[in-house]
C-alpha cells in the first residue's frame, strides 16, 4: 500500500518535471531572460523645428539639471530635501513629488530642476555632505528661442505613456523617454527623435549591474523645416487675439439681444499659400503655454486646458472646430448655380429684403433685413445678398424635387453638394495633424439618418428650406476653417486642391544638408471654368474693395497693398451668438506665368458677431503682414451690417 502511494507521488513529480523542462521549457527561457536583462535608453538630442526662412522655432537646449540619484536613504533624504528646496527656490513638496513620481525610471536619477545657474551647481557640488546623492548633469530640454508660438501647430513633447508605448513598440522607446504628443512634434516624431543610446544590461535579482551586454550610440534627430513663417505666425496670433479682445466689448446690435456683448471666446486664423497649400500661419484661440508641457504639466492645469470654463484651449479650432461658414459659403453656391445654368451672371434679381417660397408662403429674409434692390451675381456676392442666394437654393430644390422628371435634375438639385465635395469638404484636408474633423455636407441621405427615429416622416425629406439654408452656408452644413482655406485656395489657384503642407524639408542635424524634400501634395482637382471664376472673383474683389459698397469695404478702408478679394460671413448658431467669418484671397489675379505669391486667409471668431466687423479687420491686419509690414497697426473693428 505504502509502495503504491510512493510510486504514485514520484510519478507525479517526474511528470511535472518532464512538463516543465522538456515540454514547455522554451517559454520559460524567454521569461527568465526578460527577468535579468534591462534595456536602458538615453534619448538622443531631438531635432530642431525651423520656420520657412530657417529661423529656429523649437530646439533642444542643454541645461544644467539637478538630479537626485536613486538609492538615497530616508534620513539622507529628509535632511537633504529642505536644503535643496531652499537653494533651488522650489518647494519641498515639489521635490518630493518628483522623487516619488512613477514617471521616472527606478534605474535612473530623478531630474529635480532644470536650467539651474552655474553658481548654484557649484554651490551644491562643493557641499556633498549637505546634498548627498545630489548630482548636476547636462541634459537637453525643449526651448523656444523666439518665444513660445503656435502651440497647436507645433505640439509638445512629454514622457511616453502606456498607450504610446504600445503603439511604438517596434521603435524601442525607453520608459521615461519623451515623445511628440501633438502637432509637428508628433507628426515628425520619427525624424526629430533620432536614435537613442541603447544599453542592454544584465542585472541580478536586486537590480545590481552584472555586466553590459551591448551599447549602441545615440544619433541626433533630424531638423524639420516648416512652411510656417515665424513673423506671419506672430502677426496672425496677435491679430486674432486683438480682434477677439476688441470684439468682446462690442454690444450685440441685434434688437433682442441689445444688452449683451459678444463673448468672442474662441477663434481660428489661417494663412495658406494657395499655390501649394503651404501653411504659412495657423492659430487657434484660446491658446495655451506650450512651455508648461516641456517637463510635465500638473494634472490640475492640464484639466483646465480641457475644460469648458476655459473653452477648451487644447482644441485646435483650425482642424477641430466645426462651424457653419455663413455667407462665405456663397462662393461654392455661386459656382454650382453658374455651372448648372441655374442662373446666368447677368440675370437681374430683385432683392426686396425678403423672398417668399412655398405654400403657404414662407418668408426668407436678408440677415441684415436690408433691401439691396436689383442685383446681379457680382453685386450679390459683394453685398452678400441672401435673397439672391435663397432664390438659387429654391431653384436647385425645384430641380431636386423634379429629379425623376428629367435626367440631370438630381445633379442640378445637388449642385452645391457636388461642388462642395469637389472642393474637399466633408473629408479631412490631409494636413497630417491628429484628430482632424471632417465637417459635413447635408443632403437627403444625411436627413434620413439624422431623423431616423423622428415620428414625423416630413423631417426626413430634403425641403426647400434645406436648399435655401445650404445656399447661404447655414443649416446642417459644417466646415472646419482649414477646409474653407483649402477650398478657397483651390478656387484661387485655378482648380488644384492641395493638402495643407506643414513642412518643406527634412534637414540633417544642425541643418547642414537636405535629407529629403517634402513636395506639395495634390489631393484633388476642383476645376472651375475661367469665365465663371472671373465673374465670381469680381464679386469677391468687390466685397473687399477698400471703402467700397462690399461687406468688407469698411474693414479694408484705406488699405493700399496687394489686391485682396474676400467674402464675409455671419453664421447663426443655435443657442449661441453669431460666428464671425472672413475669407480673403490675397492677390486674386496673379499675372500669367509669373511667380507672384497668392495667399488665402481664413478667420473664424466664435460668438464674435458680424463677419465684416470682426473677422475682416483681423484678416486685414494679417494681410498687411503678408504685404511685408513686420508690425502692422492694431486691429480696428468696424461697424457693418449682418450678412
Amino acid at each position: 500500500m505504502i509502495g503504491v502511494i510512493v510510486i504514485a507521488l514520484f510519478s507525479a513529480l517526474f511528470a511535472r518535471l518532464w512538463f516543465l523542462q522538456v515540454a514547455t521549457s522554451e517559454s520559460f527561457a524567454a521569461e527568465t531572460r526578460a527577468n535579468r536583462i534591462r534595456v536602458i535608453t538615453e534619448p538622443a538630442v531631438r531635432g530642431s523645428i525651423l520656420d520657412r526662412n530657417g529661423a529656429v522655432i523649437v530646439e533642444d537646449k542643454l541645461v544644467n539639471s539637478v538630479q537626485v540619484r536613486r538609492g538615497i536613504t530616508d534620513p539622507e533624504r529628509n535632511a537633504m530635501v529642505p536644503r535643496l528646496a531652499k537653494v533651488l527656490g522650489v518647494t519641498e513638496r515639489y521635490i518630493n513629488r518628483r522623487m516619488d513620481s512613477v514617471r521616472y525610471s527606478p534605474y535612473q536619477p530623478v531630474p529635480v530642476v532644470d536650467d539651474v545657474s552655474l553658481d548654484t551647481i557649484v554651490f551644491i557640488k562643493e557641499r556633498p555632505e549637505l546634498f548627498p546623492k545630489v548630482n548636476a548633469v547636462r541634459r537637453s530640454i525643449r526651448v523656444y528661442p523666439n518665444g513660445p508660438i503656435a502651440p497647436h501647430m507645433l505640439g509638445y513633447v512629454g514622457a511616453i505613456n502606456a498607450h504610446e508605448q504600445k503603439l511604438h513598440k517596434a521603435e524601442g522607446y525607453g520608459p521615461e523617454e519623451v515623445i511628440g504628443k501633438e502637432g509637428v512634434e508628433q507628426v515628425f516624431e520619427t525624424q526629430l527623435r533620432g536614435s537613442p543610446r541603447v544599453r542592454k544590461l544584465e542585472v541580478d535579482s536586486r537590480g545590481r549591474l552584472v555586466r553590459v551586454l551591448s551599447d549602441r550610440i545615440a544619433n541626433a534627430g533630424n531638423d524639420v523645416q516648416l512652411t510656417m513663417d515665424l513673423n506671419i505666425q506672430r502677426i496672425t496670433e496677435d491679430s486674432l487675439q486683438q480682434g477677439m479682445k476688441a470684439a468682446g466689448g462690442v454690444k450685440n446690435p441685434n434688437e433682442k439681444m441689445r444688452f449683451e456683448t459678444y463673448k468672442a471666446n474662441g477663434g481660428a486664423a489661417i494663412v495658406i499659400d494657395a499655390r501649394d497649400g503651404s501653411v504659412v500661419a495657423m492659430s487657434s484661440e484660446p491658446s495655451f503655454d506650450v512651455t508648461k508641457f516641456t517637463d510635465g504639466i500638473p494634472a490640475e492645469e492640464f484639466k483646465l486646458l480641457n475644460s469648458p470654463i476655459s473653452n477648451y484651449p487644447l482644441l485646435d479650432r483650425v482642424i477641430q472646430g466645426q462651424y457653419a461658414p455663413g455667407s462665405t459659403w456663397k462662393l461654392f453656391t455661386a459656382i454650382a448655380a453658374l455651372e448648372n445654368g441655374i442662373v446666368t451672371p447677368d440675370e437681374v434679381i430683385q432683392d426686396r429684403g425678403f423672398v417668399e417660397f412655398g405654400n403657404p408662403p414662407q418668408k426668407f429674409k436678408n440677415a441684415s433685413e436690408e433691401r439691396h434692390g436689383a442685383v446681379t451675381l457680382t453685386t450679390a456676392i459683394a453685398v452678400s445678398s441672401d435673397v439672391y442666394f435663397y432664390i438659387q437654393g429654391f431653384r436647385m430644390w425645384r430641380a431636386y424635387s423634379a429629379r425623376d422628371v428629367k435626367p440631370g435634375n438630381l445633379a442640378k438639385g445637388y449642385g452645391v453638394q457636388r461642388v462642395a465635395h469637389r472642393f474637399g469638404f466633408s473629408k479631412p484636408t490631409g494636413i497630417g495633424l491628429a484628430n482632424e474633423l471632417r465637417g459635413r455636407i447635408p443632403d437627403q441621405k444625411f436627413k434620413l439618418k439624422l431623423n431616423k427615429n423622428n415620428p414625423d416622416p416630413f423631417t426626413r425629406e430634403w425641403l426647400p428650406g434645406d436648399s435655401a439654408a445650404l445656399a447661404v452656408g447655414q443649416g446642417d452644413l459644417l466646415v472646419t476653417p482649414m477646409q474653407m482655406a483649402v477650398g478657397y485656395a483651390a478656387f484661387a489657384n485655378g482648380g488644384t486642391r492641395y493638402a495643407p503642407r506643414l513642412a518643406t524639408r527634412i534637414l540633417s542635424p544642425g541643418g547642414e544638408s537636405i535629407l529629403r524634400e517634402l513636395p506639395p501634395q495634390v489631393t484633388g482637382k476642383a476645376p472651375v471654368k475661367q469665365e465663371i471664376r472671373d465673374q465670381i472673383m469680381a464679386g469677391l474683389i468687390g466685397a473687399a474693395q477698400p471703402g467700397g459698397i462690399g461687406t468688407a469695404g469698411r474693414a479694408f478702408n484705406g488699405y493700399g497693398g496687394i489686391e485682396v478679394a474676400g467674402k464675409t460671413g455671419t453664421a447663426e448658431v443655435y443657442g449661441k451668438q453669431d460666428t464671425s467669418v472672413f475669407m480673403a484671397i490675397v492677390n486674386p489675379q496673379p499675372a500669367l506665368g509669373g511667380d507672384e505669391p497668392q495667399y488665402v486667409v481664413a478667420v473664424f471668431v466664435e460668438q464674435g458677431g458680424n463677419g465684416g466687423s470682426v473677422a475682416a479687420p483681423i484678416a486685414r491686419r494679417i494681410v498687411e503682414g503678408l504685404n511685408g509690414d513686420p508690425n502692422p497697426p492694431g486691429v480696428r473693428l468696424v461697424q457693418t451690417r449682418k450678412d
Binding site: 505504502i2 507521488l9 513529480l13 517526474f14 518535471l17 518532464w18 522538456v22 527561457a29 544584465e202 542585472v203
Partner: protein, 394 residues
C-alpha cells in the same frame, strides 16, 4: 503514562543482549559490513550534490565569502556524521526503551525554544542561538524524536490499537504539534502529522480510523488557516498554487513560486550547466539555498540531473521500505515506516512546491537544503534505518 510500563522489563531485556565486546573501535568491521551501503551511498550523493548546489545558489549572497553557506553546512555534515556513528554504535532496540526520554526531550526542547532562550527569525520563534553564529532548530529534531517515541508506544500495543489507545497516540502527538504551531511552523507540523499517519498505518490501525485521522488533520489545517491562527503570509503561501493564473502582480510566496517554476523550466533537457544558471547565479529565486534548492538543480543540471536526484531519493525510499520489510522486529518496521512516511512527504511536498503543484510551506528538501538541524535530523533517521538493517539478523 503508558510508556512507563515498559521500564519494569528493562533489566530482563538488557540481559538478552550479547555482551558489548565489539565496541572498542569507532565502528567495528562487522557492523560496517552489515550497513546498507546502497542507502548510505544514495544519501551521501544527495548531500554532496546538495553542497555543490548550495554553493551555486548562495555564492552571491555573502559577498566577502562565497563559501559562507557551504562551510556552515559542512560543519553540520560533520556533526551529522558523528551522530550517525554514535547512533550506529547503539542497538536500535535500546532506543525503544528510551521512547519516553526521546519524547520528553523533544517536548522540552520545543517548549524551551518558545521561551526567551530561543530566538526569532522570519516570523518564527524556532531557533536556539549557538556559539560561532550557528543555530539549532529543535523542530527538525522533533521529527526524529516523534518517530522514536510513538514507534515505542505503538510497538507496545501491537495489534491492539483500540480507539482509546488511538486517542492516547493523538494526544501524545498533539503536544509537540501544538508547541510547533506556537512558533509557528505549519510545514513541520504537516510533516509530523504524516509521521503519525505513517506509524499508525504500519501499526495496523484500521483503515477507517486512519481515514478519520487524516480527515481530522485536514480539517485541523483548514481550521488553522481559516480561523486566523496563521499569519497572512502563511495563508498566502498555502493558497498560491491555486491562484497562479490570475495574472496579478506577484508578491511574496506567489513570486517565489512563480520564479521557482520558471527557473526549473529554463533548465530544459540538459540544463544551463553547473554554476551557469542565470536565475540561480543572479539570485532571482528567494530562499534558493534552503527550501528552493531543487530549482538550482533544475536550472543548472536540467531534466537529466533532476531525474537523477529524483532517482536517488527513490533509492532512499526504496531501501527504507525494504528495511521495514526485513526488520527483525516490529519496532524496527515501525521506525522505518515512520521515516519512510516523513521522507516521502518531505520530498513530494518540497519538490512539488518548487514545480508549482504543491503549496509553498517551509519544508526543506532532505539531505540537500541548506540547514544544519535538518541535515542532522535526516542523518539520525538514516542511522536509525541502517541500525535496523544492520541488526536484521541479530
Amino acid at each position: 503514562m503508558a510508556l512507563t510500563t515498559r521500564s519494569r522489563n528493562r533489566s530482563m531485556r538488557a540481559a538478552a543482549y550479547a555482551p558489548s565486546t565489539r565496541r572498542r573501535t569507532l565502528l567495528d568491521a562487522e557492523t560496517t559490513a552489515r550497513l546498507d551501503w546502497v542507502l548510505i551511498g544514495a544519501c551521501l550523493s544527495l548531500v554532496v550534490v546538495g553542497l555543490v548546489m548550495i554553493y551555486s545558489a548562495s555564492q552571491a549572497i555573502v559577498e566577502e565569502d562565497p563559501f559562507f553557506f557551504v562551510k556552515r553546512q559542512a560543519v553540520a555534515l560533520g556533526v551529522a556524521a558523528i551522530l550517525f556513528i554514535l547512533l550506529m554504535r547503539l542497538d536500535y532496540r535500546k532506543l525503544r526503551d528510551f521512547s519516553l526520554v526521546a519524547y520528553l526531550v523533544t517536548v522540552g526542547l520545543l517548549f524551551l525554544v518558545l521561551t526567551p532562550v530561543g530566538s526569532n527569525a522570519k516570523g518564527s520563534q524556532a531557533w536556539f542561538q549557538l556559539p560561532f553564529g550557528l543555530q539549532f532548530q529543535p523542530s527538525e529534531i522533533a521529527k526524529f524524536g516523534l518517530i522514536v517515541a510513538l514507534a515505542g508506544y505503538v510497538n507496545e500495543h501491537r495489534g491492539d490499537i483500540d480507539p482509546w489507545r488511538l486517542t492516547v497516540i493523538i494526544g501524545l502527538a498533539l503536544v509537540p504539534l501544538g508547541l510547533v504551531q506556537l512558533q509557528p511552523d505549519l510545514g513541520t507540523n504537516m510533516v509530523l502529522i504524516c509521521i503519525v499517519l505513517g506509524l499508525l498505518a504500519v501499526g495496523g490501525v484500521k483503515g477507517r480510523y486512519l481515514g478519520a485521522i487524516a480527515l481530522l488533520g485536514i480539517t485541523g489545517v483548514y481550521a488553522v488557516i481559516s480561523l486566523g491562527i496563521l499569519k497572512q503570509y502563511q495563508v498566502d503561501r498555502l493558497t498560491t498554487p491555486y491562484e497562479s493564473a490570475s495574472g496579478k502582480r506577484l508578491q511574496g510566496a506567489a513570486y517565489n513560486q512563480d520564479q521557482s517554476v520558471k527557473t526549473i523550466g529554463t533548465g530544459g533537457l540538459t540544463g544551463q550547466g553547473l554554476f551557469k544558471g542565470p536565475q540561480t547565479k543572479l539570485g532571482f529565486v528567494p530562499e534558493q539555498q534552503t527550501d528552493f534548492i531543487f530549482t538550482a538543480v533544475g536550472e543548472e543540471l536540467g531534466f537529466f540531473g533532476a531525474a537523477v536526484i529524483l532517482a536517488l531519493f527513490g533509492i532512499v525510499l526504496w531501501r527504507t521500505w525494504r528495511t521495514a520489510r526485513l526488520a527483525r522486529d516490529y519496532y524496527g518496521t515501525l521506525v522505518c515506516g515512520g521515516v519512510l512516511a516523513m521522507f516521502t512527504f518531505m520530498i513530494f511536498e518540497n519538490i512539488g512546491m518548487t514545480m508549482g503543484i504543491m503549496p509553498v510551506t517551509g519544508i526543506p528538501l532532505p539531505f540537500m537544503s541548506y540547514g544544519g538541524s535538518a541535515l542532522i535530523a535526516c542523518a539520525a533517521c538514516i542511522a536509525l534505518v541502517n541500525n535496523v538493517y544492520a541488526n536484521r539478523f541479530s
